[in-house]
């Protein structure tokens, strides 16, 4: 994409919140202090599965603490995530546990004058538990006779039975799968297992709630969606939404961990309503680790192909470990087959997905929402298929990938779009050159302690979940753009920026559309009562869909500027246009054929003001009708130490097709961050559950093996690059990047390790212990 025609898009600029962030002035939810604020603590269950026989808060109340138990809360069952339409939403959650279903689940909560007193009070609460058998393995949980984690849940408003701890299941069949497999020359298959890892966002989940005199609430939460928090709180506490005001607060990382209304938010609201004082409630790191994780999966995948490498079809069975609560597994099961059939042309597919409750942390979206899991399986098998066929796996990928003009349904069977921008060939060719793909080692060709391997995987994520039809997932954004008297512009949107620079991208889109300097565009603080709805920052949709909304609003403002200037200048609106006057450092409306007919944006806005006419502003909602694939290819070169089992990253080439690159430095940051998180997923991160439902790390982050700098490749060894691409449906040609950057990374590592030591791994993480054991076994078998 030629960026020279843009004023500000594609140029690296200091992000608008960077000075606040680097000087420590940024206030996160955990930093909010209010007058008369008191401190909340939850009583975390010491059991992973137990009936609650009684809760005695007398001693805690005697200390002056405000206490809530199951008896004090509205008995409304809800789902923490309301992106699925209400009629088909599964609801199994109460504010406080009716029965304990995971370790550290909140059974009661207190609020007191100091954090220390709150801690003391919570310890004084006596709970009588009746421990129940703990189910940590989904296959055991599905066996008949297994202890039921739920008897019934709600589906929409209907109460349904839960059989064999199966939360939901989904089957999809397209084409003629039996014929495809009968006609196949080659079939490859594998059973893959992926771990339920922790998001490891830096800021622990936190919230401040203030009760208002009108019976309402003001909330400062960690969240990816202020409007969904508002709707849920209104529903649970039966408060009119106009009296529930949720503030957008900078968030200290999320990666999906705050995609739903976090467990602390309604607990804190209940405490605040009872105490009639502002309350802050923050999870400890250990509690946070029990709160949410990525979906753990078992994936049995078969691919059928012809001799010439043409893929014919696939069969996939997937079991998802959803933990103790249903957050969005029905959608998860749908997108998992969507990821598969949108990676490669698989006209014939048979799929069955099963989501199973266990007594573990609830699974929620974590960067990719099933995509890293499925891509690990698919891209491993593509490598195996290439080897079986004696062909280059890069060429096999090029032959079969879903690209320009193809229909794809990454976000599930109901969300179909046609690919309109495709940088995949360019990404693959360029990456191959950087990593010297042609000269990669031959599998099995090396001996000695250190062995080098090169791995490739490609993937994508959808930019939003937009589609031509409404579907069963809510996806739209909104924005208001307003011109101030001095020609500066306010962009008002409820969209969250998780740190990737999404809001700066939106400011740039407004600046570009209105021909004003970026420094004249202000990102207004946001809260639910003064913004229009934005569903949530997820599905790699922030720039594409949130930016789409800002562009739509800015185009309305642009049109109004032209029409208003036409009135003042006595010129037809169609004769006018807008440009950036760099000398005046502002936007100017002028008639190219009569250059003296011109007004700056500030002159127009000022005259509208002094003549008591109007404010130039537009508010828009925007529903994306596509969800274009943001492609990423990953090449990694590793060195495997066969004495220690360690895998070192020697080089990585991360290529992205995100359409027009809006924030070049932050887009690179997304790729580098994606590499780090994908590497952790591939090689080290693992939440191990003990039979009693405790996590082996006991809340110690280092023991959960989040990658630190030591595991990270050297700066000069990471090559990030972008395809020359333009997405016709995106704002100024842009699409997403975030999750795409993580999705294929683990598969690339698994392929690189195979290339180095000639051993395939079908389970993540591929830890040093796993490698050592495999190397040893292989040596013994020889």
């Amino acid at each position: 994409m030629d960026h020279s025609k843009f004023n500000v898009l594609g140029k690296a600029t200091q992000r608008k919140d960077s000075v606040a962030k680097v000087t420590g002035s940024e206030r996160y939810s955990i930093d909010i202090q209010l007058p008369r604020m008191i401190y909340g603590r939850i009583l975390s269950s010491p059991y992973a599965h137990a009936r609650i026989k009684g809760v005695d808060v007398q001693d805690a109340e005697a200390m002056g603490a405000v206490c809530i138990t199951f008896d004090d809360i509205p008995h409304v069952r809800y789902n923490e995530r309301i992106i699925t339409i209400p009629s088909v939403l599964h609801k199994d959650h109460f504010i406080l546990a009716d029965k304990v279903r995971r370790m550290a689940e909140a059974v009661a909560a207190v609020a007191a004058e100091t954090e220390a007193l709150a801690e003391k009070a919570v310890r004084a609460i006596k709970v009588e538990y009746e421990p129940l058998p703990v189910l940590i393995d989904p296959f055991q949980a599905m066996q008949s006779g297994a202890e039921p984690i739920y008897d019934t849940i709600l589906w929409g408003e209907e109460e349904i039975q839960v059989e064999n701890n199966i939360a939901c299941s989904r089957q999809v069949e397209e084409g003629d799968v039996d014929q495809a497999f009968a006609e196949a020359d080659v079939i490859v298959e594998g059973t893959f297992k992926t771990p339920k890892i922790y998001h490891a966002q830096m800021e622990p989940k936190s919230v401040v709630c203030r009760p208002e005199s009108d019976g309402g609430l003001t909330i400062w939460p960690t969240t990816q969606s202020i409007h969904n928090v508002r709707i849920l709180l209104g529903e649970i506490f039966n408060i009119p939404l106009s009296k529930v005001n949720v503030k957008r607060v900078p968030i200290g990382g999320t990666f999906g961990s705050s995609i739903q209304m976090n467990s602390v938010i309604p607990i804190c609201a209940a405490l605040a309503l009872k105490a009639r004082r502002p309350v802050k409630l923050t999870l400890t790191r250990e509690e946070d680790m029990h709160d949410h994780t990525r979906y753990g999966t078992w994936i049995a995948l078969k691919l059928a192909a012809k001799k010439d490498g043409t893929l014919l079809g696939a069969k996939m069975e997937l079991v998802a470990d959803i933990g103790a609560h249903n957050i969005q597994p029905y959608s998860f099961l749908g997108v998992c087959v969507g990821w598969l059939v949108s990676l490669y042309k698989l006209p014939n597919v048979r799929y069955r997905g099963t989501a199973v409750y266990t007594n573990k942390a609830p699974s929620c979206a974590m960067q990719g929402f099933g995509n890293p899991q499925v891509t690990f399986a698919a891209e491993t098998l593509m490598d195996e298929l290439a080897e079986k066929l004696g062909t280059d796996s890069l060429e096999l990928r090029l032959k079969n990938y879903i690209g320009l003009g193809d229909t794809f349904w990454g976000q599930g069977p109901l969300v179909r779009s046609i690919v309109q921008s495709d940088g995949v060939p360019e990404l693959l060719r360029q990456g191959a050159e950087i990593i010297d793909w042609e000269n990669r080692p031959k599998p099995g060709s090396q001996s000695g302690r250190f062995r080098r391997g090169v791995g490739l995987a490609r993937g994508f994520h959808t930019s939003s979940a937009g589609a031509p039809q409404p579907g069963d997932v809510i996806d739209f954004s909104g924005a208001m753009v307003k011109v101030n008297q001095d020609g500066s512009v306010d962009v008002i949107t409820a969209l969250m920026d998780h740190g990737g620079g999404t809001l700066d991208a939106l400011a740039k889109i407004a600046a570009e559309a209105l021909c004003v300097p970026l420094e004249k565009v202000n990102l207004a603080p946001a809260e639910t009562r003064s913004t229009v709805y934005d569903c949530v920052t997820h599905a790699t949709r922030g720039v594409y869909a949130g930016g789409g909304a800002v562009l739509k609003a800015a185009e309305g403002v642009r049109q109004e500027l032209l029409e208003t200037a036409a009135h003042y200048l006595n010129v037809m609106p169609d004769a006018l246009t807008l440009k950036l006057d760099k000398q005046q450092s502002q936007g100017v409306v002028y008639a190219p054929s009569i250059p003296e007919k011109r007004m700056t944006i500030s002159e127009i806005a000022t005259r509208c003001w002094t003549e008591s006419w109007k404010t130039i502003a537009t508010v828009e909602s925007y529903r994306p009708v596509n969800c274009p694939p943001a492609y990423v290819t990953v090449f990694v070169e590793v060195e495997v130490d066969t004495w220690t089992g360690e895998v070192r990253t020697k080089r990585a080439a991360m290529g992205s097709d995100c359409g027009t690159v809006i924030n070049p430095d932050m887009a690179v940051g997304q790729l580098e961050g994606g590499l780090s998180k994908g590497m952790g997923y591939a090689l080290c991160e693992c939440n191990q559950w003990e039979p009693d439902g405790q996590i082996a790390s006991r809340g110690y982050w280092v023991d959960a093996k989040t990658p630190a700098i030591g595991e990270t490749p050297y700066v000069q060894d990471i090559h990030s690059y972008f395809a020359d691409s333009y997405e016709p449906s995106g704002p100024f040609g842009a699409k997403g990047i975030g999750e795409a950057a993580t999705n294929p990374v683990a598969a690339a590592y698994a392929n690189a390790v195979y290339n180095a030591i000639n051993i395939r791994f079908y389970e993540l993480p591929i830890t040093p212990e796993v490698i050592l054991k495999a190397v040893e076994e292989k040596g013994q078998s020889k």
């Binding site: 680097v22 000087t23 002035s25 990737g500 050297y714």
Partner: protein, 168 residues
Amino acid sequence: MQPKMITLTVNGRKHQVALNPDETLLNALRQLNYTDVKNGCEKGDCGACAVLLNGKAVNSCLVLAWQADGSEILTNAGLGTMDNPHPIQEAFADAGAAQCGYCTPGMIISAKALLDQNPHPSEEEIREAISGNLCRCTGYAQIITAIQIAAERIAASALVGSGQGGKQ
């Protein structure tokens, strides 16, 4: 045990506070409104709460407030202001090293401790210096670049500084 009055000098400002013996320096500083000292894990795992204690970088969650009685503490907010950021802070902003920004104050403190001792660090030395600071957003590369830029800028301004000194 009873609370004790202790003295903490934070970013040049003296505070006298009565604290219990089990209070961490992290909590003491945050209660004094130094919220730039971030609470990440309270277990010494993540480095978000790093401060300079008498010039040495420590995780403030692993120091009891009483241990810091009479000490000089420098937090990230003491390095620079929004109008006049410290060169390390400026370099973090310029290099895109702050994404969510939550690890940033601790990261900058580790960088400051390094550059105070070693104004021209190699990448290896930078990696060692921030090995106790977790960042989930960036993959660390832009953080390393920021520290390299900061080192260059500080060295360049020191040269200018000494040049001016020569003229006086």
